[in-house]
Amino acid sequence: MNDLNTAVNNGVNVEALLGARAALTEAPAAAAFKWLASCEWINGTHSRSTVQQFFGLGEDQNHRSEFTFDTDHPQIFASEDNGATPVELVLVGLAGCLSAGVAAVAQRRGIQLNSVRANLEAGMDIQGILGIDSDVRNGFDGIKVHFEIDADATADDIRALVAQSQKRSAVFDIVTNPTNVSVTVSENH
């Protein structure tokens, strides 16, 4: 079986990823990454977050350019709707992570992708965030992801792609497992 099928091109440089994997196995310290984001409140429920710098391979790194994300709430929440809600951005993160994973795993397995579409749906009872019922959690009561994938592979091979993508997904891990979050505030003089 040819794992690095060169006839297949999903736009993923698997050789580079495997090279990085081998290098980082030898030098685990370089695998310690830090992801950074900053957020500026604008007005009301509208904020603007920025990402550009991150840390990895032992030094500061930069995206090619700064990316900004506006978050707000829709008008039915009496907001101005200047951007996606933060919870929608969580779905965006999950979708982006799983889709990238599908492409990478497909490349590795020599499967040509023709199209990949993911539809995500997350239920939420807003009695939680409104403080109406303390038994209702603030967050999603579940997330459903549905993939439509056209690829040169059997149905089981495609299911295996999606399953493997979840197994290796950072955002899937973040949303399915608890994470310690510490929030601090600067002293104000």
Binding site: T25, D156, A160, K167, N177
Partner: protein, 420 residues
């Protein structure tokens, strides 16, 4: 005392190595902290049987010869089998000899034990792969009132308080113990992370028979794509019973065991479970399905179809996609947590720079990254079968030749296969 080689451990691996070194006329001694097959005898639960059938249970120059080739040995049966083997090969045993330190000398090794010191030119570590039961760090935050134990301490359900039990881990150990404990009237909740699903039999043959036929058991460590992953796989969900029955998550659910995702932590007296349960089961189902497809292809290509029952696949794992993510241990009357979260070897007595950053011995197919030192019995050491009893033979034969060559005496090796 001086000898050419010290073998540490008189289990199946150490004994197989002793026989192979004898074939190479390498002077050696087998040091054993207890008796022959000590771990099998002392550190396993009462109901355990081998996961491999008797016909497969063999060692260099010795094989099962009883009346039940398709059965699975109990631990007393296995202990007897290994004792018979030790007698059969007249292994140079030093029993009840606990090795406390191994140091390098100018031209070999110093093996310190509570029964004296041995000096040797070469060293074989066959002291087992399951000496210490792993307990993940998350255990530290479990409520103080919960009784915790590992499979090394577990013998039978009577040890446990008559209340709910949380079993962590879905390997052969986790499933076997979850079923046994639940049947004893102690309701079990089972935390399921990544696992390997295998049927006991497929198309009337033991799964080990098929894996042997497919050549999977002989796959070599240097031919496998991701050796690190292969070496860290949990043991497949199998049980050896006279009925040759399957053991899978569906079977446990039917009996009333509650499945939850991988244990993620404890907070405020509640256990937290991962939301990845559906996917971990999907991965295992797909992987099993790929294996069964390979078996069907093999049967077709080798004209076995006529003599085999028709292919009948096993149902997909039925998972509750909305399985609760939190469990209040007190409210659910959980009094015990059983950590079936794997084992690791104990090489704490080895004072040599042979460990990687995770504390594992650096080796290439059992040839340790230190002159004249060898490792046996680890998963996928040289082949997929390395962790099975019958896997010891080929590994010990290869490594004994390497060792004899290191000592400059390979010309003395009598190849048992050729000589016979």
């Amino acid at each position: 005392m001086h000898t050419q080689c010290v073998i540490i451990g008189a289990g199946h691996s150490g004994l197989a190595m002793s026989q192979c070194l004898k074939e190479c006329s390498v002077d050696h001694v087998v040091l054993e902290r207890g008796e022959v097959a000590n771990s099998w005898k002392q550190e396993r639960w009462d109901s355990l049987r081998l996961l491999t059938p008797n016909w497969q249970t063999r060692l260099p120059g010795f094989a099962y010869s009883g009346k039940d080739p398709h059965g699975y040995m109990t631990m007393p049966e296995l202990t007897r089998f290994l004792q018979q083997y030790a007698d059969h090969i007249s292994a140079p045993l030093q029993l009840n000899t606990n090795v406390t330190a191994v140091n390098a000398t100018a031209d070999g090794y110093e093996v310190v034990s509570d029964r004296g010191i041995w000096y040797c030119d070469s060293l074989v570590m066959a002291s087992g792969n399951c000496n210490i039961a792993n307990i993940p760090r998350v255990a530290e935050s479990a409520p103080q009132s919960i009784h915790m134990l590992t499979p090394s301490q577990y013998r039978n359900p009577d040890q446990l308080e008559h209340a709910g039990v949380l079993v962590i881990g879905a390997s052969a150990t986790g499933l076997q113990l979850a079923e046994e404990i639940h049947r004893s009237g102690r309701p079990v909740t089972l935390c399921v992370g990544e696992h390997v699903r295998l049927p006991r039999t497929y198309r009337g043959r033991d799964i080990q028979w098929w894996m042997d036929k497919l050549g999977l058991l002989d796959e070599r460590f240097d031919e496998i794509d991701d050796i690190n992953r292969g070496r860290n796989l949990p043991s497949p969900q199998l049980i050896g019973t006279p009925a040759r029955r399957n053991l899978d998550l569906n079977r446990l659910v039917v009996q009333g065991v509650d499945l939850r995702g991988r244990l993620a932590g404890f907070n405020d007296g509640k256990a937290q479970f991962s939301g990845s349960l559906v996917n971990t089961c999907e991965l295992a189902d797909l992987k099993m399905s790929r294996l069964l497809t390979r078996i069907d292809e093999y049967a077709r290509e080798n004209n076995l179809e006529a003599q085999l029952p028709v292919a009948r696949r096993y149902p997909a794992t039925r998972v509750d996609a909305a399985a609760p993510l939190l469990m209040d241990l007190q409210k659910n009357n959980i009094k015990t947590i059983l950590w079936a979260t794997g084992y690791r070897p104990d090489h704490s007595w080895l004072n040599l720079p042979v460990f990687d950053h995770k504390g594992r011995i650096r080796h290439h197919g059992g040839v340790v990254d230190y002159p004249g030192m060898y490792l046996l019995g680890a998963p996928l050491l040289r082949r997929r079968k390395s962790s099975f009893i019958h896997g010891a033979e080929d590994d010990a034969r290869d490594l004994s030749r390497h060792l004899a060559s290191y000592l400059g005496s390979q010309k003395n090796c009598v190849d048992a296969n050729v000589a016979a």
